[in-house]
């Protein structure tokens, strides 16, 4: 089970709370997912979202507020301060958007915001790319978790750069790693877990499914299967067929 900033979470599935057909369906999806962490956005609802936040708090999972919609380190730091007040937690999913079309993170502002917030005592979960150097800088800035994207937010494209994600796992064997964004199917989530990732964070794949609660359950199964497969030490891939029964001497007797 993943350990983030000293806290053990009893599920490797982290679920977002945006875009569900209704709060009731959101609640059902969380119940079926067994998710241990809920991310929640602060920005758009600023000044009137108390009812929705109260509902999220009633989910009885650990809350991870995010800085979705922020475009600079300054914005993100301000939003993190608000989130700490509203949700009474030092945990913050740090998201600094750099590109309007792809919602790709602005990694320069991200590192700056991570440094400021870590120094202020926040436990920072940075939404980043799979760039090794950026990830090193984030660790230097005080992060103890990395959350590289699988693909652009809401795209459902899966893991666009499996090699890069695998390289990241190999480079930081002791840092909790979470694939955040881009997951559209349970197979994507399972693939991330099979690589040894500690958790996956997804939202649209469940919220925009025709039956969100059923998809949440499917994601939970996939995450469990992927983790179990990783721990079982999968066989190596080979280019040549390797029969499981001997071929030579088949008609020996």
């Amino acid at each position: 089970m993943p350990v983030f900033y000293g806290t053990t979470i009893d599920s490797a599935l982290m679920l977002g709370t945006a875009g569900y057909p209704s709060p009731k369906i959101l609640t059902d999806a969380f119940a079926r997912s067994g998710a241990g962490i809920a991310t929640v956005s602060l920005r758009r609802e600023a000044g009137g979202g108390q009812d929705f936040w109260a509902l999220i708090q009633s989910l009885e999972v650990r809350l991870l507020p995010n800085t979705a919609g922020c475009h600079s380190a300054r914005d993100a730091v301000t939003t993190a301060h608000m989130a700490r007040e509203v949700f009474d937690t030092d945990w913050i999913k740090l998201e600094v958007i750099g590109h309007a079309d792809t919602l790709q993170p602005d990694v320069f502002e991200l590192v700056e915001a991570a440094r400021i917030l870590s120094a202020e005592g926040f436990s920072v979960f940075p939404y980043c790319t799979e760039d090794l150097v950026v990830c090193e800088r984030l660790l230097d800035a005080g992060c103890h978790v990395l959350m590289p994207w699988g693909a652009p937010i809401g795209s459902g494209l899966g893991l666009n750069n499996p090699h890069g994600l695998r390289a990241l796992r190999a480079a930081f064997p002791d840092v909790p790693l979470v694939v955040d964004a881009g997951i559209g199917l349970p197979s994507h989530a399972a693939a991330a877990m099979e690589m040894g990732y500690d958790a996956v964070l997804l939202n649209s794949a469940v919220a925009r499914a025709g039956d969100p609660a059923a998809m949440a359950a499917a994601m939970a199964d996939a995450v469990r299967a992927g983790r179990a497969a990783y721990l079982a030490d999968p066989m190596e891939r080979t280019d040549m067929a390797v029969p499981s029964t001997p071929v030579i001497g088949r008609a020996f007797l």
């Binding site: 709060p23 609802e45 009137g48 108390q50 929705f52």
Partner: protein, 317 residues
């Protein structure tokens, strides 16, 4: 039952309840100001689109929304029965396929089919979903017609039916606000005969023609009970989406910007609830004009025949 009824709240819910009771011979008076910007139905789109809403909404919304157009027409409210057109931008073609898969009551049109229905859209869209049986009305006209026929009351006497929308949160603790923002523009260069919905992963839009070159663009959905003016971001998104639908919208005059919060329960379905002597009808969410007639009928049935309607969830002293 006999005796008088006082309806609290002069938005679409209150006016429909009072109208339905009156037509059944039960005198009902409304205690509220005349329809205006204080009611969130003032800012509504007025689409009677049970099939389109069924894409994400509970099947009950479609089932109970199907009779709305007839009800409104029976009250003398002009209803335009030209259907709904649903389109998506070419880079987001999967959205239309998904919408078709998750909804009913439509047929797919090709580019000439779209152009035949809405000549001004021409061949901008290679395909579109046409929900032929849907309709729309002008919400402010509808509110004025109902309101003009109903007596008003200074005091609450007799059976009280509380239809105050979000203001009833003092008694309905599970009610929340879902903020919506809208824009009204005049664009005489463009003519549309029916509501057009543009599917977009980030900024979905509907355009409702109001006649005379006036269009209503709506509407955002934000989990917030804030009722302040629209944000720049909301207006930017609505206008950008409209521009993507047709570049002629860039030349439109902006007549009005509006925002309010819709009353909604956790499953986004309406509720009828009796607490003590008061009967509450609330939680129409984004389906005010679509569901108010059905909820009003349920309220009237309950008062007349003591039935327990589908949307009734509590009946206690």
């Amino acid at each position: 039952m006999t005796g008088t009824v006082t309806v609290l709240g002069g938005g679409v819910m209150g006016l429909c309840v009072a109208t339905e009771l009156t037509r059944r011979g039960i005198p009902a008076a409304v205690r509220d100001t005349l329809p205006g910007p204080n009611a969130c139905s003032w800012w509504a789109g007025g689409m009677l689109a049970p099939w389109c809403e069924g894409e994400t909404a509970d099947p009950a919304v479609t089932r109970h929304g199907l009779g709305a157009a007839d009800w409104w027409q029976d009250q003398g409210v002009p209803v335009t029965r030209n259907g709904t057109l649903v389109v998506s931008l070419s880079r987001d073609g999967g959205a239309l396929t998904r919408f078709a898969r998750r909804s009913q009551g439509h047929r797919m049109l090709d580019a000439p089919g779209v152009a035949a229905l809405e000549p001004d859209l021409g061949t901008r869209f290679s395909r579109a979903l046409f929900f032929e049986s849907e309709s729309h009305l002008d919400p402010r006209q509808a509110l004025a017609i109902l309101s003009g026929r109903l007596p008003r009351s200074e005091a609450a006497s007799g059976q009280v039916i509380d239809c105050r929308g979000l203001s009833a949160r003092d008694a309905l603790r599970d009610l929340r606000g879902v903020r919506g923002e809208m824009v009204v523009i005049r664009c005489p260069d463009l003519s549309l005969s029916r509501p057009v919905r543009l599917l977009h992963p980030r900024m979905p839009l509907y355009v409702v023609p109001r006649g005379g070159g006036v269009f209503m663009l709506g509407a955002t959905m934000v989990e917030s009970d804030g009722r302040g003016p629209p944000t720049a971001r909301a207006v930017l998104e609505l206008l950008s989406a409209a521009f993507a639908l047709h570049p002629a919208f860039a030349e439109a005059e902006v007549l009005e910007l509006g925002a309010d919060a819709r009353p909604a329960f956790p499953d986004n379905l309406p509720r009828i609830r009796r607490v003590g002597g008061t009967l509450y009808a609330n939680g129409l969410y984004r389906h005010g004009f679509l569901l108010a007639p059905a909820v009003a009928r349920m309220v009237a049935d309950h008062l007349q025949h003591q039935t327990r309607p589908e949307f009734m969830d509590a009946d206690h002293d």
